[in-house]
Subunit: 214 residues, 2 copies
DNA sequence: GGCTTAAGCGGAACGCTCTTCCGGAACTAT
DNA sequence: ATAGTTCCGGAAGAGCGTTCCGCTTAAGCC
């Protein structure tokens, strides 16, 4: 079991409602699309308040559907989490080129990392679950990192090229580190995360400073 | 609920077996002490292989006792986790003065943090659970940080006094950050954690370098 | 050494949640 | 309007955590 993971290889028409996990060969029925929307909204709310381990019934009730409907559209809980996060992840990835164009490499990198931090922080419970050790979520970090790595990678390369930061830290290393630091602990949450991410960024710069000053 | 924590005010004789959670006013019966030992050993093993969420029965079976016995001695799962970690935590805390005496402040700090990282890394599954969001474990980080904070605090102060590191990061911030970074993700685990902790340490040094070179 | 007391043990019983399944309702196309 | 299919809803099944109680067994006393 836990054979979920990366779906099949299908490359479907693609005109389905965004966020829907199943690759239906045909158009979804109207009520089904509506229910998927309700479920996503409900899941976002419930995940935020009760965490990702919230009872399935709670989500279904809030969405005004039966649990069967939830399980049909999102067989794995990770499918639901994935769908809820997808939009924000895409926005993050797309922000990278814009930042690169508007700032110097080092600043762009720092900016993006803080933006990423903010995104993770607002999702509190969600990001936590990605590293909770539950095998059901094991595939998710990889899935999202795959999307974000090129974005961060280009920022890193640019900053490394100007000598502003060291070059021996990979994009995936950083993505993971920031995600881990965004795990909520007490309440100050986001302030703490941002502080620690700043520390990490300074760590990226440190050896560069050493070389410059020596 | 989750009212476990610091027991009552009782100040018992104190010759009870170390590691036992309950403050029994009297001596524990011999078989009870033996069972507690078996449970701790079993828990350490099971936590290591199956994670902290392993079925209670698995631990009880390995220890050769019934589940009732497990729950009597460790009503909260966090009690078991606490008992398993206690020894290593104490060792970590006690290592601080020795390192401070043997190395320069900055090196002592770095050394201690790496040692702490190593400890957390060897406990993989355990440390994960501390920040899994499960309310059952919420009290644990605080409990341990209380023990470790003075140790790390003195190292931080010493290093800050010599100007080797910045002074605006607290011990508890760092403890938490390192613990988070030690959350296992793939397999490379400890190497990754050490790398990221090194990055954090460099971040602590960065502004100091700036000041020195300017 | 035998007896009394009660601490401690084991596992059955309970409840909760996740997950699956199927009869019936709702939507779409003809 | 009708037929065909998709999709819905909640009831049934299964697993695990936790509690509870009668019996066992160590410890204290005569």
């Amino acid at each position: 079991m836990t054979e979920n993971t990366s779906s099949s290889a299908a490359g479907p028409p693609g005109s389905a409602a965004p966020g829907a996990p199943g690759r239906a060969p045909r158009q979804l029925r109207a009520d089904a699309q509506r229910n998927i929307g309700s479920l996503l909204e409900a899941a976002k709310a419930v995940f935020g308040t009760s965490g990702v381990d919230a009872p399935a019934k709670e989500i279904a009730d809030l969405a005004g559907v039966g649990v069967g409907t939830l399980y049909r559209h999102f067989p794995q809980r990770s499918d639901l989490v994935k769908a809820v996060l997808q939009h924000g992840i895409d926005a993050c990835a797309d922000a990278a080129p814009a930042l690169a164009a508007a700032h110097e490499p080092g600043a762009a990198l720092a900016n993006w990392l803080h933006r990423y931090t903010e995104f993770l922080a607002t999702k509190r419970g969600l990001a936590t679950a990605l590293h909770s050790g539950d095998p059901a979520f094991d595939a998710l970090p990889g899935y999202f990192y795959q999307r974000l790595e090129p974005a961060l990678g280009s920022l890193l390369d640019a900053a490394a090229a100007t000598g502003e930061i060291r070059a021996d830290i990979s994009a995936s290393d950083l993505l993971r580190a920031v995600a881990l630091l965004c795990t909520p602990v007490s309440d100050e949450g986001i302030a703490y995360s941002q502080r620690m991410v700043t520390l990490l960024i300074d760590g990226l710069r440190y050896p560069a400073e050493l070389q410059r000053s020596s």
